[in-house]
C-alpha cells in the first residue's frame, strides 16, 4: 500500500472514521490529482463525513454548501449586505459625492456577503468545499456548479470577475434521488460507499459508543446486518446504529431482547410505516436470527451473519 494512503487510513481511524481502502484511496487520489470527488451511496453510510475528515487531514477549513430544491446560483455565491448598504447611504447623505460614486461604493467588496461557493474560491489557503446532496438541487444549478468547478472563477456584475486564489478540494455527495448529468460525473473522481460489513460496523460501534461492552456491540452490529436485508422505506444507516448503541447504553442494557428493541425502535426506524412493518413482519425473524447468532462462537463474521440471514429467510 502506498504510504500516503496508509497514512490517510490511519488518520481517518484516528478521527473515529473506519475507512476501508476504497475510501482512503479515493481521498488520496482526489487530493493528489486535485480533482473533485463525487461520492454516492445510500443515505447514512457516511458520505458527508469523508469531507469533514478530509479537511481535518489536510488541516484545511471545511466550507459546506447544502443543496436543496430551488437552490439558485446567487444564494450559493454571494449576496449584498443590504442593511449595511442602507446605513452607508444614510451616513453619506450629507457628503458631496455624486449618486454614481456612492452607488459604486456600496456595491464594492466591503458590502459583499460571501456565500459558500465564493467563500471557497477566495480563501488564502485552499479549503475543502463540500457540496452536499447535489442530487437535490435542480439540473440548472448543476450546470452552474459545473461551470464554477471547471474554471474556478465567478463573475459579479458590479465588481467583475473573481478568480480563485487557490483551488479548493471539492467533495460532492449524492443520494441518487436524481441521476446526475454525465458532464458533472466525468469531471469528478468517483467513490461508491456501501453499507458497512459486519466487521466494519462492529468497529464503528466500538469506536463511537465508548464504554459499550463488546458483547452488546457484537449483537448490535449483527442485528443491523439482519435489518438491512429487509426491504424498508428507509434502511437505517450508520448514524442510526451509533445512536442506537448510545440509547442502549443510556438504558443500561447489556443484551438485546424483544422488550429492549421495541422500546428503542424509534431510534432505528424513522417512519411510522417502517415501524409498523418491522413490528408485524420482521422483528420475530430478526430475533430468531439473533438467537442463532448467539449460539455461534465469537468472533462473528460477515459470512456467518449472511449465512444466518439466508437460513432464516430474512431476505426479501
Amino acid at each position: 500500500m502506498h504510504p500516503e494512503i496508509a497514512r490517510i487510513q490511519t488518520m481517518l481511524g484516528g478521527e473515529g472514521y473506519v475507512a476501508d481502502r476504497e475510501i482512503a484511496t479515493a481521498i488520496y487520489l482526489s487530493m493528489s490529482l486535485r480533482k473533485s470527488l463525487l461520492i454516492e451511496g445510500a443515505a447514512g453510510v457516511g458520505k458527508t463525513e469523508v469531507a469533514k475528515v478530509m479537511a481535518r487531514a489536510l488541516g484545511a477549513d471545511l466550507i459546506r454548501l447544502q443543496c436543496y430544491e430551488g437552490l439558485d446560483a446567487t444564494t450559493a455565491l454571494y449576496e449584498w449586505n443590504y442593511q449595511k448598504q442602507l446605513l452607508h447611504i444614510r451616513l453619506t447623505e450629507a457628503s458631496d459625492r455624486t449618486v454614481e460614486q456612492r452607488e459604486h461604493e456600496i456595491f464594492g467588496e466591503d458590502f459583499l456577503l460571501k456565500r459558500p461557493l465564493l467563500e471557497a474560491i477566495t480563501r488564502e489557503a485552499a479549503p475543502v468545499l463540500l457540496v452536499d446532496e447535489v442530487d437535490r438541487s435542480d439540473s440548472e444549478f448543476e450546470a452552474f456548479l459545473l461551470e464554477v468547478l471547471s474554471d474556478f472563477q465567478v463573475t459579479i456584475p458590479e465588481i467583475g470577475t473573481i478568480r480563485a486564489r487557490t483551488t479548493p478540494y471539492v467533495v460532492l455527495t449524492s443520494n441518487r434521488t436524481r441521476e446526475l448529468g454525465d458532464a458533472l460525473r466525468r469531471r469528478c473522481l468517483y467513490l461508491w460507499i456501501e453499507y458497512p460489513t459486519f466487521e466494519k460496523e462492529l468497529q464503528i460501534v466500538l469506536g463511537k459508543a465508548p464504554g459499550i461492552n463488546a458483547d452488546l456491540a457484537g449483537q448490535v452490529a449483527g442485528f443491523m446486518q439482519l435489518v438491512r436485508q429487509a426491504k424498508l422505506e428507509k434502511t437505517p444507516g450508520i448514524a442510526e446504529t451509533i445512536d442506537w448503541g448510545a440509547a442502549l447504553m443510556a438504558l443500561h442494557r447489556d443484551h438485546l431482547d424483544r422488550e429492549t428493541i421495541e422500546e428503542t425502535l424509534g431510534v432505528l426506524f424513522k417512519s411510522q410505516e417502517d415501524a409498523r412493518v418491522v413490528r408485524n413482519q420482521w422483528l420475530d425473524l430478526w430475533l430468531r436470527g439473533l438467537e442463532r447468532l448467539r449460539a455461534e462462537s465469537r468472533p462473528w463474521s460477515q459470512a456467518l451473519v449472511e449465512r444466518v440471514a439466508a437460513e432464516g429467510a430474512l431476505r426479501r
Partner: protein, 380 residues
Amino acid sequence: MKATRSGNLAANVVAFTRLLRHRGLPVGPREASDALRALSAVDLLDRREVYVALRTVLVDSRQHFDRFDEAFREFWGAEEEETRPESQPPDGMTPEETAEAEQVLRKWLEAESQNPEGDETQETPGYSPAEILTRKDFSALSSEELHAITTLVTQIARRVATRMSRRMRAVRRAHLLDMRRTVRHSLRRGGEIMELLRRRRRIQKTQVVLLCDVSGSMDLYSRFLVQFVFALQHAVSKVETFVFSTSLTRVTDALSDAELSRALDRVARTVPNWSGGTKIGHSLRQFLELYGRQLLGDRTVVIVISDGWDTGDVEALEAAMRELNRRSARVIWLNPLLGGVGYAPLCQGMRAALPHVDVFAPAHNLDSLRRLERHLALPR
C-alpha cells in the same frame, strides 16, 4: 501487473481505456491521462491499489462497476484475490437474486410479445380482435421492438421534460422581494425606501400522482406509463406512484432508483397482486384516505391509467372519482382502449368515472404518451 512498468505503462493504460470505451464506458483521453497520473501516485506493485485507483478515476457511476471489473480481469489478468472487497454484493442482492431479477425482466420484455393476441386480449372484453390489429400499440410489439421502445420512452420523456421546464420558467409569476434593486433605487432618495421592487420566483413544481391499474388487462400499458413518468420526474415534477388491482400499493420508493430496469423489477416483486382482478373504486378510496391529505391540492395532477373494467362496486368508484376531482387541480384518465378504432367508453366503471375526469386520453402507443405533455403542465 509485472509487465506494466515505466514506458509500458502509458501504452497499457491507453489500451485499457480503449477496451473500456469499447465496452461502453464513457472514457476519453482526459480519463486516460488522469489514470496515468493516478497510477504514478499509487503503489504499482499492489494490485488491489491499482484496481481501486483505476476504478476511482475511470468509472463514474456504480452501474458500470461490473463491466469495469470484467474488463480489468481480462486486461490485467485474473488473480486469486477477489477484486470486490465487500463480502456483501452491492445492494444486498445475492448473485442468484440478481439472476432472478434479470430473468423476470427478460420475461417481461419477451413474454408479452410472444403472444400478442394471447391471454391478455382474451381477458379484456369489449373490443373485437379486429381492433387489436388496427391498434399498432404496445401489446403488438415484437421483443426487439420492446427493447428499442424502452429506450425511446425514456428519450421522449427527457425531451418533453426539457420543454416543460422551459415553459415553466416562462410563466413564473410569484414575486419575491428584490433587495438588490430596491437598495439601488433608494440611493436616489437618500436611502429612503419608497418602493419595494420584486423579482420573479420559480413556481412550485407540479405534484403528479400516478395511479396505475396493473390488473391482467392493463399490466403492459401501466409498465410503459410508469416508465414514462418516471423519466419525467427527474426533470420536472414531484411524482408519487401507486399501483392497484384489488388494493392499492405505493411504489414511489421502489421506483426512486436511478436504474429503471431494476426498479421496475422491484415493483413486480413488491406488489402482491400485479396482474390480478380489479377493484378501482376501492383502490381509489384507499388512496384518498391514506394519501389524499398529503398529496392532493391545487398543484396536483392526478393520472389514472385503467381500462375501467371494475369488478368491484361502481358506486364506490363514482364517489371516489368525484372526490378525487374536487380535491385536485386536474384528473387525467388514460385508457389504452381509447386508441382503438370505434371504441366507446361503455363499460359501467368507465361511464361512472367519466363525468369526473378533466382529460380522457389514450395511452396505447408512444405518440399518445408524447401528447400527455400538454396535460401535465398546470397554468399558474
